[in-house]
Amino acid sequence: MQAILSKAKILFPLLILVLWQACSTIGLFPTVKVPSPVQIIAALQDLTVVGLPQGSILLFHCLYSLQRVAIGFMLALCAAVPLGIVFGWSEILRKMITPVIEMLRPIPPLAWIPLAILWFGIGLRSAAFIIFLGCFFPILLSTMSGVMSVDPVLISAAKTLGATRRQIFFHVLLPGATPSIYTGLRIGLGIGWMTLVAAEFTGVKSGYGLGYMIMTARDIQRSDLVIAGMAVIGCMGFILDGLLRIFESRALRWR
């Protein structure tokens, strides 16, 4: 069963690609609107070697986008995890802050773009800020709920074993909330990627970035390059999530 499943994991996407190619070959899909997988692979090669705009190769687009995500994500992590633990622990603070969070949270990160540009100018800092906003709330809320789900008897136990409040914070609440924090990190990272590309649509005027690359492809009406860019984003998101999952399973071996 396990063997069949792991094969299915690879075979199923392949099957879709083969069907797609077949539909394109027999002319069911108009190739201008829906390019075939073969065309997209060619487009990928084009992006890797020639670049879009010419000279700006795919690798650099990826690296720039990755840098923006990494900075925004790390900032969100450093801010949201400690705050989440504090708000999860203190009922008074939680009651005070919840309305603020719930009013800020529904605002799409993209709505912040004008302000981000006003505050930080066009470039890395405003893009990182937008991604920070996208990552921040899922991590904050997951951390809070993780802390609230820590069994109170563990806190009592730590206290009778001589732990101070500070030690309870680091040795009980933080490890107890870790499973939930990882869930938040994975959701946050996914949203971060989504926001990044949109942020680059408008927040980056020139240079590098996958979102910027896709917009350039749109301007010259090359749907194959657009889809190639989308595929790259999908793959990068998949790989990063996989990395997080490796960290997660290492950290949560006790479960």
């Binding site: 008897v153 730590a158 107890g176 006790w254």
Partner: protein, 251 residues
């Protein structure tokens, strides 16, 4: 160290409705230095609340607690607590769980490890030092929990129905084990149980709580030499007295 509880009352007030529930009503009890006292009583009568108040995890509405004749400012520093639900830290291995209290005191890793391994050996946990709590049986978990409390060398140990979740065979093994630990360590122990046999087997004195609000309605000194045999006639006399008491509480 001796423990004394005087005229202790606890009333819970519901935050929303303001409704008051009296849980403990003028509880008086004393455990002498190195003594073993059990509390037995109907479910939900406030036994756990009493232990939590003694440990400083909850505040009494009125009344006093004395440890060695003095009111402790930070009782949790002198009192060890063993919980029914084990309360092991699931992310810590067995030895790390046992060494938790030492780690909080800033004892070095090497010394923590040495002392934890000493307890692992004495408590019959050899070979399980690197396991996580989810990999342990109930009896082993409670041994780890007891070791974790004992390693901090508290003056008084409060045990809240520690064997309640165990099957009967493991339970009688743990009863014997706790007896040995108590005789060797000479700790002062206040023990909550639902098991009449456990109470008579271990205790110098059994205290019976009435249903809520709890009062000390029975104080029974168990005048039997240790080690005790649960199959003797005298044991049975005590057993009958406690059963009668508990039946009266239901009526």
């Amino acid at each position: 160290m001796s423990l004394e509880v005087r005229k202790l009352c606890k009333t819970f007030v519901n935050e929303h409705s303001g409704e008051k529930t009296a849980v403990l009503d003028a509880i008086d009890l004393a455990v002498e230095n190195g003594g073993f006292v059990s509390i037995i009583g109907p479910t939900g009568c406030g036994k756990t609340t009493l232990l939590r108040i003694i440990a400083g995890l909850e505040v009494a509405s009125s009344g006093d607690i004395f440890i060695n004749g003095a009111k402790p400012a930070e009782p949790w520093k002198q009192v060890g607590f063993v919980f029914q639900e084990y309360a092991l830290f699931p992310w810590r291995r067995v030895w790390e769980n046992i060494a938790f209290g030492l780690e909080m005191k800033g004892v070095s890793t090497a010394e923590r490890r040495d002392r934890a391994f000493d307890f692992i050996k004495r408590f019959g946990l050899e070979g399980s030092h690197d396991l996580y709590p989810r990999e342990l049986s109930g009896g082993m978990k409670q041994r780890v929990a007891l070791a974790r409390t004992m390693i901090t060398d508290p003056d008084i140990i409060l045990m809240d129905e520690p064997f309640g979740a165990l099957d009967s065979q493991t339970r009688s093994q743990m009863r014997q084990f706790l007896f040995d630990v108590w005789r060797q360590s000479k700790k002062t122990i206040l023990f909550i149980t639902h098991s009449i046999d456990e109470a008579i087997f271990l205790s110098q004195k059994v205290i019976g709580f009435s249903s809520r609000p709890a009062t000390c309605s029975l104080e029974l000194t168990i005048d039997l030499p240790y080690p005790r045999d649960v199959t003797t006639d005298t044991f049975n006399i005590y057993r009958r007295r406690i059963i009668t008491f508990l039946d009266d509480q239901k009526a």
